[in-house]
Amino acid sequence: MKKIAGGNIDKYMVGGVNLNSYIKGDTQPEKVDVFCQAGRVPALLLVDTSASMDDYADILKNAVIEMINTIANHPVAGNKVDLEVVTFDTVSQINIRIPATEIKNIVDSNKNIKPEYANRLDFSCVGGTPTGYALATAIQDIRERYQDLKDANKAPQCPILFILSDGEPCVEPNLTQEHDKLLNQMKTQIKQMVKANQIVVVAVEVGEICEQPQNPAQKKDREDMHQLMQEITGLPNKHHVLQARNIDELQNFFKFTSSLLVSSASGSQDTTQLNQQDLSQKTKPVLR
């Protein structure tokens, strides 16, 4: 016999929403599915693959694979974390490496990432840093994914966007004005979404930018970058700005991310609470 109480119950709700048409007749109470304490966790990893990130290309690939395998091996999180991986640079533009999907769909029976997906994570770091375009794509994708999950009655939690970058935005001169305008729009939009608890953004500064500046010009650049990363998180403080000064710290960031997604998916952490938490203090001394 088919699974009924433990199977797909949408078909029993006439029109997808009418519980009572199944239960007794024509009235329309609200649709009630299982009350999952922990719903789906949509997450998007947005990785800067501009030329200056080249030193981290291999480690990024391995760290993302390890993160996926870790989540897939968790008995609950493997079914509940929806991950999308997107890279951005001015040569290959905005590149969706792994489209938004449940982790379980991209791993094999041994809970290891399938080769076809692992191959898509061969990052070649070239070109500039179109942060504005990347954010616009990421926000749109994650919002759509959230809505899809909601429509499918999968009780999505507040989506999480992780962005890793090592430098200030940089695009072709003829696009600079348009790009900067878009970037400002995105900063405003993120701020509004964070305020409404519609998204959590965690920004990771990678490499030299985390070091102390050596001269006034460098100081100005780095302060601008720190300011931008804070604005991208949509918070009035640096609670969601993390720093990965070297490869070890970058690996630690991915371990932290795996742990965060697993705890959110298994119900011990609610993503809507994250905007009130100081994540920058969570992983000391590795992360700021």
């Binding site: 016999m1 088919k2 699974k3 009924i4 109480a5 433990g6 199977g7 119950i9 078909k11 029993y12 709700m13 006439v14 519980l19 009572n20 048409s21 199944y22 239960i23 007794k24 007749g25 109470p29 649709k31 009630v32 599915d33 299982v34 009350f35 999952c36 304490q37 922990a38 008995p75 609950v76 079914n79 509940k80 998916a265 298994s266 119900g267």
Partner: protein
Amino acid sequence: MKEKNIFTTCLHKETGLMHQLKGKGCEDAVARHVSEETGVTAVAVSDGAGSCEHAAAGSAIVSETVVQLMAEKFELIWKLDEETAAEYLIRKLCAPIQHAAEKNMWTPESMYATLLCVAVHPDHRFLLFHIGDGAIIGYNPAENGKVLSKYQHLGAENETTFVNVPNTTYKFLRSTESYASFLLMTDGAEPYLTMPDRVAFRAILLQQISFVISERELEEQMADLLQYLRNHCGMSDDASFAVLTDYRRTDEILECMPSAMWNDLLECPKPVSKKKIKEYSLFLQLLHQCPEGVSYKQIGKYVLKDKHKIKNIRKAVGKMFKEELVEEVQGRVYLK
């Protein structure tokens, strides 16, 4: 027909993931009892406290004792005022716990267990007794699922009370309100299937299909539901269910089912007509009423009023045989 056959029951319990990882067995216990004399049927579930060494023994004693008491002493308990009834039940439950503790050189505190019990009389009266966490749901087609009792956590989620905690809080309910079925659950599944004022659709489905399928199949459906809760909702604790169904409401319940449900039950790709649903409902109700089986002649007479030939009767309810909802043994038809 004996009154004791009015109700059908199904019990199921599973060890939680956390207990498996710790090498512990299931500390939930389930029990049922039917009074031969009155037909009162009682079901119970009990959850042994995870931190207590002999919790499994405690929950087993509590569940077995309470169903006996509630079924056999139904009239006595019904007549008592709420406080006296609860005191009586707790005293009767604590005695065997104390005895087992003394016999095994344990402390009664090492056997802490919760309790959820419902006993239903054939005249539609029911008694409900509940101590500690977990939830009891009543189901009627008219009002869907209703949370009849649910422990309200005032402190941490894992803080609750137990049967043999001195001056324990409890819920005792005595009612003449008729429910088509009751679903009892320990705290493993409770947070995922109940809210203070609402019941999850899956819990309602479980009760509805209890009118159609056999006890074995219902247990499988319970296991499927727990698997869903583990995989999709993060449930990791021991979990147990008890369902008590009043077959007299069968046709009323089954006629409410949409064709999609019938399609799944009968593995039928085409929509099932209203006439056919009515026939199936009457057919299943007749089989519930007659655990000794029915003849084709009886099916023709009571269910298919326009059919008299055995060949035609077989054809009319053939799907039920094909999907193994019913079976034929030596010319008589039984619920599978």
